[in-house]
Homo-oligomer: 230 residues x 2
DNA sequence: GCAATAGTGTCTTTAAGACAGTATTGG
DNA sequence: CCAATACTGTCTTAAAGACACTATTGC
């Protein structure tokens, strides 16, 4: 039995929160097709490489990050016949959530890499759609997992965690109710014992990620957007 | 720039509820590798075919179903280098939820097709893992979407819908509280006007799917299992 | 009548939303 | 002292859990 051949790529939706806004990592394409256009970072899966390994490799190449901290998960796959003019290419998209780190622009494939606030972007290929799916995934994951901490450094304040929610959801939350919810949900965060110093106002206690993987009950947005099927 | 070539398949986790238990559609493999072993239905994506179209085609081929009713969504992709002894094959798994229909065993690829209660199965390739991921997806989707109705015929009773939840989650729910929740959530179900006939006990009103896509607030399991990252 | 299943009402408990008030820093 | 931010407590409200009760059929 014979079958068609495909190329397989991984593309990354890399998100971070900086200056109170949600940003996505983009690269300017240095080769055809879509030369000069902005796109999600990504590349071909190698001959003997697992999909997740390819995603981790690309992430490390683009951001210089490889250790723990942050979060990487598979998002979805895209394989419309005309999505890449070079031929039949299926891409497996991954979603990465990272603390706000300076990005070493010295990526290997990309001419330039840059954090851009999410919004109306006009990306190469079907990357606008992939980004939209990644954003919706990130927004809904904050509801029922403690993953917001992936956007924070190892030790963070409750206020910083709340600002992550506010940036990702685009709505403001009551600091007092948020504090109560986070600290009273077992395994969401655990105190490090330290506090902030040198900030205006009363010093805040520092926390690290807890060991819970699921929030029960969840922390719901007011207006949940539609999810996407098929 | 050269890059490795892959074959791309779609595999289907097709679920239904029959006799109060959750069942998955399996086929016995009629060719190597894993000849004679049970596996998820699936096949190669054609040269000019979208991934979702391939999934719909395979579903139609295996179940004879093609119209509306039921639900089909992308689940995840699997591409470990050694997952298929024939070479580098990436599979895009889809999850289908169907009402309990007789399956015409005259599938094209498969020697036999059969509904099997979910549980300890020993499937070909990495299909045990794919099935486990599909089950977890189905379980969690019932929490925050009205998708349970995809397991039901076009008109159904609240009790039938509850039995779907009980089969998929493996726990029993209070019929009265369930009734209140379902009928008071806007867009979950809408009455057809009809009732059951000839059943023991008081006739039950019939409902069809509502137009909501999200349940807010959700209908939570007691014990949510871990989700799976990366 | 009785068994069976459908559907309603009510009380309790949990947790979210709103928001007053207290605590601890820097200036 | 005041401004600023962190944190606690209280009241109200929404909604789940438990469960008594009524409704409508077949026998």
């Amino acid at each position: 039995m014979s079958y068609p051949v495909f190329a397989v790529t991984v593309d990354l939706v890399v998100l971070t929160v900086r200056e109170g806004r949600l940003h996505v990592l983009l690269v300017r394409r240095g080769c055809e097709p879509f030369l000069g256009r902005w796109a999600l970072p990504g590349g071909f899966v190698r001959a003997d490489e697992d999909l997740a390994a390819a995603a981790r490799r690309e992430l490390a190449e683009e951001t210089g990050l490889d250790g723990p901290g942050g979060h990487l998960e598979q998002l979805a796959s895209y394989g419309a016949p005309e999505r890449d003019p070079r031929g039949r290419v299926v891409t497996v998209a991954y979603l990465a959530l990272l603390p706000d780190l300076p990005v070493p622009t010295a990526g290997t494939d990309a001419a330039e890499a840059e954090w851009r606030p999410v919004g109306r972007l006009d990306l190469a290929f079907d990357h606008d759609r992939i980004l939209a799916d990644g954003l919706e995934r990130a927004r809904s994951k904050l509801e029922y997992t403690p993953l917001a901490a992936a956007f924070c450094p190892p030790a963070f304040t409750i206020a910083a965690l709340r600002q992550v929610y506010e940036a990702v959801w685009g709505e403001s939350l009551d600091p007092r109710n948020f504090h109560r919810k986070v600290t009273s949900t077992p395994g969401f965060v655990s105190p490090t014992g330290g506090t902030t110093e040198g900030e205006p106002g009363r010093p805040a206690r520092l926390y690290r990620r807890g060991d819970a993987t699921l929030l029960n009950p969840p922390l719901l947005r007011r207006k949940a957007l539609d999810d996407r099927s098929e």
